[in-house]
């Protein structure tokens, strides 16, 4: 990543629920083609930060810039256009239960492209094959398992070939082989389609396997402790808390 081109810039972002502060003074940059990890202990506001980035939760102050274009500072139609470049995989899949998997994937295609019904179906079939669900086009979400729902959710997030894919805990609840496949898929999408990927996770295996950039959120101080390559943070970050997290608490004795 020598010619790093900033894709997402978070500047002075503060998120709060009313008077309750979630995170403050967040500043980080995601470069084009990064697999960017948002990590931190439970309850530190990882998912809330993600919601601010995809337009579900208005931040208290600060803004997020996509290719130097302000997100929350833009007017509604402009923001809607920006959102179309995103794909989001929600924690539990969030598939629309009244539609088959093919219809779930096809909805955005029907709305935003001129493809025929047959072409939409082929796209849906292809996306399902990519996530290992070949042949499940006509299943309803309540007929498949939790891990399959998650993969189908990923297929839906990829429907429009988004520039940026957001993942909320992608590998939670998946078996190791499927989780590995998902990681491979994320890297493959990055390499072939030049997708920027933002992942909320605390699965260390995934963090080191796919992440080349990250931000570490701390629930105590309510701000970011570190940002950068997770391997470098693990090996050489001055803050023991960051190293501790990345070493599964095994740095504790060293730092004491």
């Amino acid at each position: 990543m020598a010619d790093a081109e900033p894709h997402i810039s978070v500047r002075d972002l503060t998120i709060a629920f009313g008077d309750y502060l979630v995170q403050k003074d967040l500043n980080f940059t995601v470069n084009r083609g990064d697999v960017f990890i948002i990590m931190g202990g439970s309850g530190c506001g990882k998912s809330t930060l993600l919601k601010a980035m995809i337009g579900l939760k208005q931040p208290a102050t600060g803004d997020i810039f996509y290719s130097e274009e302000p997100f929350w500072g833009s007017d509604d139609p402009q923001r809607e256009r920006m959102k179309r470049r995103f794909g989001t995989l929600f924690q539990a899949g969030a598939l629309w239960s009244g539609m088959t998997l093919a219809e779930n994937i096809g909805l955005a295609l029907r709305q935003y492209t001129d493809l025929s019904a047959r072409q939409i179906r082929e796209v849906a079939a292809y996306k399902l094959m990519l996530v290992g669900l070949a042949g499940f086009e006509d299943y309803y979400p309540n007929e498949i398992s939790g891990g399959m729902k998650k993969r189908a959710g990923l297929a839906r997030a990829m429907a429009l070939d988004p520039e940026i894919l957001f993942f909320d805990e992608p590998s939670a609840g998946l078996d190791p082989i499927t989780a590995k496949r998902l990681d491979d898929l994320i890297l493959e999408l990055r390499d072939t389609l030049d997708t920027t990927v933002v992942v909320v996770t605390h699965e260390l295996a995934s963090i080191f396997a796919i992440g080349n950039n990250c931000v570490f959120l701390d629930p105590e101080t309510k701000t970011q402790l570190a940002t950068g390559n997770p391997r470098q943070l693990r090996d050489s970050h001055p803050n023991p808390e960051v190293r501790n997290f990345l070493l599964r608490g095994e740095a504790e004795t060293d730092s004491a």
């Binding site: 009244g98 025929s116 079939a125 292809y126 990519l130 290992g132 006509d138 309540n142 898929l185 072939t192």
Partner: protein, 376 residues
């Protein structure tokens, strides 16, 4: 942006080369899948397929989806495909797509069932629906038995909550509806009875109609739409979230825990609402009577007191109790029978309200006929 195009060239050795050119983007216009697949079906079938992508521009899923369709078709026809001509990224994505093979028997065949089959399936469904309803009624009766013996697990605070929701919180809407119904009855009564010079009997008409029939039925229909629907939605959502399974695994009987408290709440509250509704209806009728008729307040009240006997009141209250049980059970039953999706919750709610209203009207008619035959 140049538009995407695909043409087929046949070599002398039976090889088919697909020439892909232009930008194959989802947001652009793409050739129909049928035209891409067509050369495969021509006789004699090609021996293998290759690609020429020298003039291919930008591409995304708009290229991949037809390619995958082509691969599948070729595989089914036993034609080898040579991917050497494709861009690197596309080759890798194809490889990924075909890493996990389709699970045997996963694909669904869609076929149109024969008319007789549909009739049969629906009859069986109706039959099993009836059986479920009977089973459910039996479950509730058994649950009441356990409750009486103190063996049912439920939360007292739940019952209080349901009583408040089905009682006090329903007062405003009940007031409005029954007050207006009382007024409407009084208007009709005054118009007709004044022709015979017995306008004062409007008081009898309003009071008896409200106490015996209208208030029980109107409050029951209100509660079917308000509370019965809520029961179906609450229990249905719990079913979708596997909360009912969670109760069962902990040894709680879901009927004891969820259904019986709700039935009790509504059976207790509906007669009270109906009583209150009767009073509001009489007040509404009184307002109209006093304005349109030349009688005093005392006269109207006395006429009302003379008109209503205790058996009118008991008859009305008994109806309310029956309606309360029916509405609560219809709501809970639909909730318990709910499928596993947001859509199913909606269906369960709709069915709960429709079933409740049908049951209310049918049982009201049956009870009225019984009352008449008993001379009440």
């Amino acid at each position: 942006m140049t538009s995407a195009a695909c043409s087929a060239e046949r070599g002398e050795d039976g090889a088919l080369t697909l020439v892909l050119s232009g930008d194959w983007l989802l947001t652009g216009s793409l050739p129909a899948i049928e035209t891409i697949l067509a050369p495969l079906a021509t006789a004699p079938p090609p021996l293998r397929i290759g690609f020429d992508t020298a003039r291919l521009g930008e591409w995304d899923t708009g290229l991949m989806a037809p390619l995958v369709a082509l691969y599948r078709q070729a595989e089914a026809a036993g034609i080898a495909v040579d991917d050497a001509g494709l861009p690197d990224g596309a080759r890798r994505l194809l490889q990924m797509a075909f890493t996990v093979r389709e699970r045997e028997g996963a694909r669904r065949e869609t076929r149109k069932p024969h008319f007789l089959e549909r009739v049969g399936v629906q009859s069986l469904e109706a039959l099993s629906g009836g059986r479920t309803l009977l089973t459910f009624t039996g479950d509730v009766v058994l649950s009441f038995g356990r409750l009486m013996r103190g063996k049912a697990t439920y939360l007292r605070s739940d019952v209080m909550q349901y009583v408040q929701e089905a009682g006090a919180e329903a007062l405003p809407i009940t007031s409005l509806i029954t007050f207006l119904i009382g007024m409407i009855f009084a208007f009709v009564g005054v118009m007709q009875l004044e022709q015979f010079g017995v306008g004062i009997y409007t008081a009898d008409l309003v009071a008896i109609a409200m106490v015996r029939e209208m208030s029980p039925i109107m409050t029951a229909i209100l509660m079917a739409g308000r509370t019965g629907a809520a029961y179906a939605a609450q229990i249905g959502t719990m079913k979708v979230n596997e909360e009912i399974d969670a109760l069962t695994t902990l040894g709680f009987n879901p009927v004891d825990f969820l259904v019986t408290p709700r039935v009790i709440a509504l059976v207790l509250m509906l007669p009270m609402l109906s009583l209150y509704g009767s009073l509001m209806g009489i007040l509404g009728g009184m307002g109209v009577g006093l304005i349109m008729l030349d009688i005093s307040l005392v006269q109207y009240v006395q006429q009302t007191i003379d008109a209503v006997d205790m058996y009118h009141l008991w008859g009305g209250l008994l109806k309310s109790i029956v309606f309360g049980a029916l509405v609560a059970m219809a709501g809970c039953q639909q909730g318990m029978a709910c499928g596993g999706s947001a859509l199913a919750v909606g269906q369960a709610t709709t069915r709960a309200v429709v079933t409740s209203i049908v049951l209310i009207v049918v049982s009201a008619s049956v009870l009225t006929i019984i009352y008449i035959n008993l001379g009440i």
